[in-house]
Amino acid sequence: MTAMDEQGKRISYIGQAWLVILLALCFGAALALVHTTLGPRIAENKRNETYSVIPVLVPGADRDMTEELIVQSRSGRDVRVYKAFTTEGKHKGWVIPAQGQGFADRIELLIGQDVDLTTITGMYVLAQKETPGLGDYIKGEDFRDRFRGKPADRPLVVVKTDPREENEIQALTGATISSESVTDTINSAIDNLREVLLAHDSSGAGARK
């Protein structure tokens, strides 16, 4: 094929596809606009939901006593974490956010831990789009309870049988990838924030003003 033929072909591709390209640009701009307009409201909804589940994630905590902190994780990103207190003002634990790639879309989680970050006290799914009837059981109480009381100081491992070790989590039947995504997401979030949260506590910020 000569050079001219090839050039002619390239021009005809553009000639045929210009509408698709133009539409993609227009629609992209429209979606960016929608996202900037509605984004803050969606984030606010998620924050309200976070507050409503703090007493579940850290048993004994009072949602109105929660202190919000922005900390820098080990990977260098700013993360909003929630320091949970009892009604009397005693530090009870932490709630940290976690994001990871699921089977279908990004999964957003909240993880509750006790004061010295040794035990997971609860897990909650903020957003997921896993397969209905299989992977979406990750948001069910049965699956979330499998994380309660698990150690937070070493990585959790997904198994397909009844867990024998303390740090083993039984996968959901038919949703191994979703189960593994959740577990990996939890592992890396805890690992990323562990040191900074412990440092925060020992710097004397333990008691609530």
Binding site: Q16, L19, V20, H35, N45, A104, K129, P132, G133, D136
Partner: protein, 209 residues
């Protein structure tokens, strides 16, 4: 193109004679999945109507520019854009409902009802006809979802739109809000619609003869 239906015919056809669910068996995924109650069913019908009507308008406006082999790409692009907008909108203003519908909102993209209307009507007829078609089909779809959801919610929970309609003594038939209830209800209502349609057409033939 001479014998394409007029706007009024398109509108009326969408509601009953060519009802997307009862006559064309399109959009079965939301029909079965989100009709456990009236609220999710109506939200889904509204979201689908928004996407269908706007996609019909856009495609009808650019129908002269469509290349036959690239048209499906343009359809999908347009539909996906409006679905994303409706998904973000629900997350911002109807957060609880958005969580309840979960992946079924993004799945509107693959609802055959929409792409079939865009292909059959909007890509061939004027904007006026395309709007009438979109509104008619949306009403037909809403009617179908509402009829199934009415049966399922009343029998399954004793409520309608969350309001108590059957006495407290009603032993809610839990199976009706579960997936089997969706298939049972759809099957019985489809059978009923077919029986009624055949009886009517027989009577018309007899009256005509």
């Amino acid at each position: 193109m001479q014998d394409q239906p007029t706007a009024l015919e398109r509108f009326i056809n969408g509601i009953l004679p060519e009802n997307p669910v009862y006559r064309q068996l399109l959009g079965m995924c939301p029909t079965l999945a989100v009709t456990g109650g009236m609220k999710p069913a109506i939200t889904m019908a509204g979201a689908t109507a928004f996407v269908l009507i706007l996609a019909n308008i856009i495609i009808s406006l650019i129908r002269g520019l469509l290349k036959p082999h690239l048209r499906i790409l343009v359809f999908t692009l347009t539909i996906a854009t409006f679905v994303t907008i409706v998904d973000r909108f629900l997350a911002a203003y109807l957060y609880e409902m958005s969580k309840e519908l979960g992946p079924y909102v993004p799945l509107i993209i693959v609802n055959c009802l929409i792409i079939s209307r865009v292909e059959i009507c909007a890509s061939k007829q004027s904007v006026g006809v395309a709007v009438a078609d979109g509104v008619g089909m949306s009403l037909g779809f809403a009617l179908a979802l509402a009829s199934i959801a009415t049966v399922r919610e009343i029998l399954g929970s004793g409520t309608w739109f969350g309001l108590q309609v059957l006495g407290e003594g009603w032993p809610a038939w839990g199976i009706m809000v579960l997936p089997p209830g969706a298939f049972l209800t759809l099957g019985l209502l489809l059978g009923g619609a077919e029986w009624y349609g055949q009886r009517r057409s027989r009577r018309l033939v007899r009256a005509g003869g």
